[in-house]
């Protein structure tokens, strides 16, 4: 394998992540904020045991719940909704936490970018192991130039994680 061939996958993927940097600090939109306030910044039992709307992508929201607790030490017990009414009981300190978070959307979007890296890695390996390196390279070229993948690689929803897990599943299924 020549040196150029060895680095081609990285050469293909780098422009994608340069473009992703444009989106990573974009303001949160309605569905993301809904997921955050209803299913992420809540006690973990609410994430796992309540399904008030299909916005609850349970595994994804549970992972984010733990992410917020461990990395940012956000006390999700302080954020809770009284039933289905739009009543929030939070202290001034909690309000400051939320606005800090929404002011720095990249803190929430970075895990999504990591999921997309894993997707690209496994898709490349599927192409390389079961076909050839050219198929692997074409596949990841096509993936990083697909508009929905670009947008969902920064969205705080469960769709990107679904793509990652599906790609990993294909890899391990074809291995057998």
């Amino acid at each position: 394998m020549t040196k150029v061939n060895k680095y081609l996958p990285f050469i293909v993927v780098i422009p994608f992540y340069i473009l992703v940097l444009r989106l990573i600090n974009r303001d949160l939109y309605y569905d993301e904020v809904y997921s955050i306030v209803h299913f992420i910044l809540v006690p973990i039992r609410q994430t796992i045991f309540e399904y008030t709307s299909p916005n609850n992508h349970i595994l994804h929201n549970a992972l984010y719940n733990l992410y917020m607790k461990t990395l940012f030490q956000m006390d999700t017990q302080k954020y809770f909704w009284m039933g289905h009414e739009i009543q929030r009981h939070f202290t001034r300190a909690v309000a400051v936490d939320l606005f800090w978070l929404f002011d720095k959307p990249y803190t929430l979007r970075l895990p999504q970018v990591s999921f997309s890296i894993v997707t690209i890695y496994f898709l490349y390996n599927i192409g390389k192991e079961y076909f050839n390196e050219k198929v692997a390279l074409y596949s990841i070229c096509l993936l990083v130039t697909t508009v929905p993948f670009y947008y969902y690689s920064v969205q705080i929803r469960g769709y990107n994680l679904s793509v990652t897990i599906m790609t990993m599943l294909i890899y391990y299924l074809w291995r057998r």
């Binding site: 349970i58 198929v135 929905p148």
Partner: protein, 152 residues
């Protein structure tokens, strides 16, 4: 690993169960069934909320899934790369003997879930079909390789 991944996939978004079931028709792997069962067990506490949710009501044989959602999703996957389609089609035609089974898996995974959602009738937004994207990219990749054949 397959058990864990199947469980996690369905536990992320319940509609992923349809994709897993279609995959099972090709890969008759007990691990997939075990993963589905585990995921369904994890969903037991949520069944009440899911059944009572108006957004999850079924309207069997919902035609918009095939007439509106299917073209929209394919259009999004193609992402303005229309000029590639004839090249890919020629490559897939050439590759049908050497890569018959992968082509079949990818083609079925891209089409059959829409039919199943049509029959099941839930409100299928385009974004829930995003897990089909790796199959689309592989299919196009095989087609491009078959057609371009640059380094052979």
């Amino acid at each position: 690993m397959i058990i864990i991944l199947t469980t996690l996939l369905i536990y992320t978004i319940p509609s992923n169960l349809i994709f897993v079931l279609v995959l099972f028709t090709f890969f008759r792997n007990k691990s997939i069934l075990i993963g589905c069962t585990l995921a369904l067990i994890l969903y037991i506490p949520l069944i009440g909320g899911m059944l009572n949710n108006p957004q999850l009501q079924n309207d069997f044989f919902r035609t918009t899934t095939l007439t509106k959602t299917f073209p929209e999703v394919l259009n999004a996957f193609i992402s303005y790369r229309w000029l590639l389609l004839p090249i890919v089609a020629w490559g897939l035609f050439k590759a049908r003997r050497t890569h018959g089974r992968p082509l079949l898996v990818c083609s079925v995974m891209l089409t059959v879930p829409f039919v199943l959602f049509f029959i099941q009738g839930s409100m299928a937004y385009g974004r829930i079909f995003l897990p089909q994207l790796p199959f689309f990219c592989l299919l196009m990749g095989i087609g491009l390789d078959g057609s371009l054949n640059l380094w052979r």
